[in-house]
């Protein structure tokens, strides 16, 4: 036998083995969608008050610095409730200046002057807008996270007339608790300088300051999984806000332990560089969702990239990277409902759908066998392998099968056979031109290759763009499309050729080709 045929067969066997390994046992590896098997029904409430609070806090900071710049004296500027700011102790002489500041920079707010107290309140329509925005943003972030985790075909929609609840339906997954905490993580990453610490208890920290913390400092808890001592006193302001984060990735620290790598955008990098240069030798803390993940001494000027190290497991690093990548939630979420739900399709619909799929498969196979005779068998073998590869790849991507998804797979079988048809038709053409069977096969494969390559690559390009620019279901669709094309190129061009070589290659003289 031809030597090159040996390693070709070897490769095919390897691909078959890999696919089976990916797929085995199918019960655990293939997730069935909400329509076929049901899953989890979760309702989350977006705490939009918190989003307003964050906005108000930012405005407080802004006011303080504007007053400082304008050398306006004041006693206190504080947030009251979530949408009000109170300014006390200003001088009557400064009233004009204060009004100018409020008129220019605080258009979203209304204000009242009353004796010693200036009350600034967020306009109700702006407040509503902020609330709506925070829900929209939360929805988008949840969608990104669920997508990245690999749970295909979830249902994510707003619920309730107030529009502050989000309904998430996830198909049956192995580790619901992990997904639930992923969805809920606020992913608010902050870099803050350490004032003092660590302390064992909150009281110990307070005692250090005789019970009265400086105005710009606060006590923050550590994440007990990472640090032994529970509390630090940190500056309230963050050095670089988390939204300056450009990317996050899995990394290792100098001892090879899992760590979270991150990069800032140019603005963040500049800020961080300035800060670290001025604070060498001091301590910096990394705070995720109001818990200290890591405290480190600044050794050197750091700008664009860095790592967070701590006692992470690989899974923990992956989860932190995922939530950082998908962006911070604008407000905390709260689970208010959690149920298990059954399939949304009745057994009758499922049976009908599956029958139709089998029927479609049967029709294609029959057509190929009748129309191309022995060569048809060749293409059917290639198709079977194609399906195996497709299922194996989908299992490894943790894809979820829904009924329309299965119909899509059947459709891709109908399309995959196109490559076989192109080759067989070309072989027939060469035979008609008077070539011997052997050289007709050779020429057929050779000439059809570029045609198949061009037409498939055009489709792949469209799929790549859909993947890059699409979200949610569009992304999943693009992945399936790409896998399907890759599998069909492999089976139709490679496997099919090997089968031809195996059946006809050994015969010395071949006069007739069954095609």
């Amino acid at each position: 036998m031809d030597k090159s045929l040996n390693w070709k067969i070897g490769l095919i066997i390897a691909v078959i083995a890999l696919s089976i390994w990916m797929l085995y046992p199918p019960k655990d590896k293939i997730n069935l969608g909400l329509d076929l098997k049901g899953g989890m029904h979760l309702v989350l409430e977006v705490e939009t008050d918190a989003a307003i609070t964050i906005q108000s806090d930012m405005s407080v900071t802004q006011l303080r610095s504007l007053f400082k710049d304008g050398s306006i004296k004041y006693d206190k500027i504080n947030r009251k409730g979530f949408d009000k700011i109170e300014i006390t102790g200003t001088l009557l002489d400064d009233e004009r200046k204060i009004k100018d500041i409020l008129d220019d920079d605080f258009r979203d707010w209304t204000y009242t002057f009353g004796g010693n107290l200036i009350g600034v309140t967020l306009r109700p329509n702006i407040e509503q807008q902020l609330r709506d925005q925070s829900v929209d943003q939360a929805l988008e972030t949840i969608r990104n996270r669920v997508d990245e985790f690999g749970v295909a075909e979830p249902t994510i929609q707003k619920e309730g007339l107030a529009g502050d609840k989000i309904l998430v339906e996830l198909p049956g997954i192995d580790n619901p608790e992990r997904v639930k905490s992923l969805i809920k993580s606020t992913a608010m990453l902050e870099f803050r300088s350490v004032v003092s610490g660590p302390f064992l208890t909150e009281e110990a920290a307070l005692k250090d300051y005789n019970g009265q913390l400086p105005e710009d400092a606060e006590i923050v808890k550590t994440n007990p999984r990472r640090l032994d001592k529970g509390f630090y006193v940190l500056k309230a302001a963050t050095v670089v806000p988390g939204n300056n984060l450009k990317s996050a990735r899995r990394a290792q620290d100098e001892y090879g332990a899992p760590a979270v790598g991150f990069s800032f955008n140019s603005q963040g990098a500049a800020q961080f560089e300035k800060f670290t240069a001025a604070n060498i030798g001091k301590q910096l803390s990394i705070v995720l969702d109001d818990r200290i993940e890591s405290v480190a001494t600044i050794q050197d000027v750091i700008s664009g990239d860095g790592i967070i190290h701590g006692r992470f497991t690989v899974d923990e690093v992956d989860d932190i990277v995922l939530v950082l990548r998908s962006g911070a939630l604008p407000a905390p979420l709260k689970y208010i409902e959690e149920r298990t739900i059954g399939p949304s399709l009745g057994t009758d619909s499922i049976r009908k759908g599956l029958t139709a799929c089998l029927m479609g498969l049967f029709l294609v196979v029959t057509f190929m066998l009748v129309y191309y005779r022995a060569a048809g068998i060749n293409s059917v073998v290639a198709l079977a392998l194609n399906m195996l590869i497709l299922m194996g790849a989908m299992a490894s991507f943790r894809a979820t099968l829904s009924l329309p998804g299965i119909a899509g797979i059947i459709l891709s079988i109908g399309m995959a056979v196109d490559a076989n048809v192109l080759i067989f038709e070309r072989i027939r053409e060469e035979l008609r031109a008077g070539k011997s069977p052997k050289s007709a096969i050779d020429a057929g494969f050779k000439k059809a290759f570029w045609t198949i390559f061009d037409s498939n690559l055009t489709t792949v390009i469209s799929a790549v763009f859909l993947f890059q620019f699409g979200t949610g279901p569009i992304k999943g669709f693009a992945v399936t499309l790409i896998i399907g094309i890759a599998a069909s190129m492999f089976t139709a061009i490679w496997v099919s050729r090997v089968i031809f070589d195996l059946t006809y290659g050994r015969r010395k003289k071949m006069t007739k080709l069954s095609i």
């Binding site: 909400l34 929805l139 988008e140 249902t155 994510i156 929609q157 707003k158 619920e159 007339l161 609840k165 309904l167 149920r339 298990t340 739900i341 059954g342 949304s344 009745g346 619909s349 009908k352 759908g353 139709a356 479609g360 049967f362 029709l363 294609v364 057509f367 129309y371 009924l403 329309p404 119909a407 899509g408 059947i410 459709l411 079988i413 109908g414 399309m415 196109d418 048809v421 192109l422 038709e425 027939r428 053409e429 008609r432 061009d454 037409s455 055009t458 489709t459 390009i461 469209s462 799929a463 763009f465 859909l466 890059q468 620019f469 699409g470 979200t471 279901p473 569009i474 669709f477 499309l481």
Partner: protein
């Protein structure tokens, strides 16, 4: 076996202008339908009402479906909650605009309550329905405040009415199904005789209750729709660039125009047959975008070869020859896809029907356009844009 003679010699290019007009008319009518009628958007795009219903007795999904059919809500989605006799029913209410001003939102509340009322009506049996028609209220499906108001109207004092109403609601909450099964239960719960008389006389107890009625937003919001559209446009540009790189720019342009034609014609049929546009239909259209270019490329590929060999003939002849030479290929590759789509269309049941319909129209259109449109565009370019590029 052969379906086609291998030496067909059909003059395709001759008919190009007629077919341009035909395609143009189809697309124009599609545009007309789009502006007059618009797409029938499914629940994925429009949102609707989510109801949680609980039954006193064992109920199966087919039984529930039958009830919904009676309420003319047959296209609702039903899922069982856990292994209890509780279900989520998701249905499309006519709540299409999500960003309405507060004044209009009031009207929405009414609409969505109407959906719930219709649904309740569908779930009642005949006896319950006649009681409801006689003006009796259903204690299992009335809110606490309304029960209290009803009792007050019947002459009870404020305190009595409120206390009785809250006893009834507590009784509902304490049972697993959330349903009060008979009046004796209420009597045991401590409702006064005088009140019981009113209840027995002018209320009834249905065998189900709506635990919650919620408005749900669309699965595919404005944002997602915009992103999907942009993704498609980028995909088209990507294909254009690739074909331009492998062939020539005008080939790329022709291929993309053919593709856009296929999508527009398919959309026209969706409009014409009032097919409900869901995420699966979008998936089918995306599949078309990827698939329908294939046949065109096969023809272009042959055309490229022929242009090298046939130096004397004019472009029209070469185009015809290339189409004829690849005709069996074009038809058979489409046929294999067509066979699977036909199976899905006729045997797939209601769930797959919209998907299969879209593909069916798309595959037929795609085959026609690969043969009659893609090359015709090249002829048009030759005639109006450039002198024959053969040397």
């Amino acid at each position: 076996m052969n379906i086609f003679k291998h030496d067909t010699n059909i003059k395709f290019i001759n008919k190009m202008y007629i077919l341009f007009v035909v395609s143009g008319l189809v697309i124009a009518s599609g545009i007309f339908l789009f502006f007059t009628r618009g797409f029938r958007l499914g629940i994925d795009f429009s949102g609707g009402t989510l109801v949680e219903v609980s039954f006193q007795k064992n109920t199966t999904i087919p039984q529930l479906r039958k009830m919904l059919d009676e309420a003319k809500l047959g296209d609702a989605q039903v899922t069982r909650i856990g292994s209890e006799n509780k279900f989520f029913i998701k249905t499309m209410a006519s709540l299409k605009k999500s960003n309405l001003n507060p004044a209009v939102k009031m009207q929405e509340i009414e609409e969505y309550e109407i959906v719930a009322r219709e649904m309740r009506n569908g779930m009642m049996d005949d006896a319950e329905r006649s009681q409801a028609a006689a003006g009796k209220i259903d204690l299992n499906n009335t809110a606490e405040g309304e029960i209290a108001r009803f009792l007050r109207d019947k002459g009870l004092g404020d305190e009595d009415a409120q206390a009785s109403a809250s006893l009834i609601i507590n009784q509902r909450k304490s049972s697993t199904a959330g349903v009060v099964t008979d009046f004796a239960q209420l009597e045991k719960a401590g409702i006064k005789h005088r009140v019981m008389a009113i209840l027995r006389d002018s209320t009834f107890l249905s065998k189900f209750t709506f635990l919650s009625v919620e408005f749900v937003g669309p699965q595919v919001g404005k944002d997602l729709r915009l992103k999907a559209t942009l993704a498609c446009i980028w995909a088209l540009i990507g294909m254009l660039v690739y074909i331009a790189f492998r062939f020539k720019f005008l080939y790329g342009l022709s291929g993309i125009l053919t593709l856009v034609h296929d999508v527009l014609v398919t959309c026209t049929f969706l409009l014409l047959f009032k097919i409900e546009v869901s995420l699966q239909v979008i998936a089918a259209i995306l599949t078309l975008v990827g698939y329908s270019i294939n046949d065109t490329i096969v023809i272009f590929d042959r055309l490229r070869d022929n242009l090298k060999i046939m130096r004397k003939e004019n472009l029209g002849e070469i185009l015809d020859k290339s189409i004829n030479q690849t005709l069996s290929r074009t038809i058979i590759t489409s046929l294999t896809v067509f066979l699977t789509v036909v199976a899905l269309f006729f045997f797939g049941g209601e769930v797959i029907h919209p998907f299969a319909f879209t593909m069916l129209v798309g595959v037929i259109t795609g085959t026609y356009s690969s043969i009659y449109q893609s090359c015709a565009w090249l002829k048009v370019w030759e005639k109006y844009l450039l002198k024959r590029k053969k040397s």
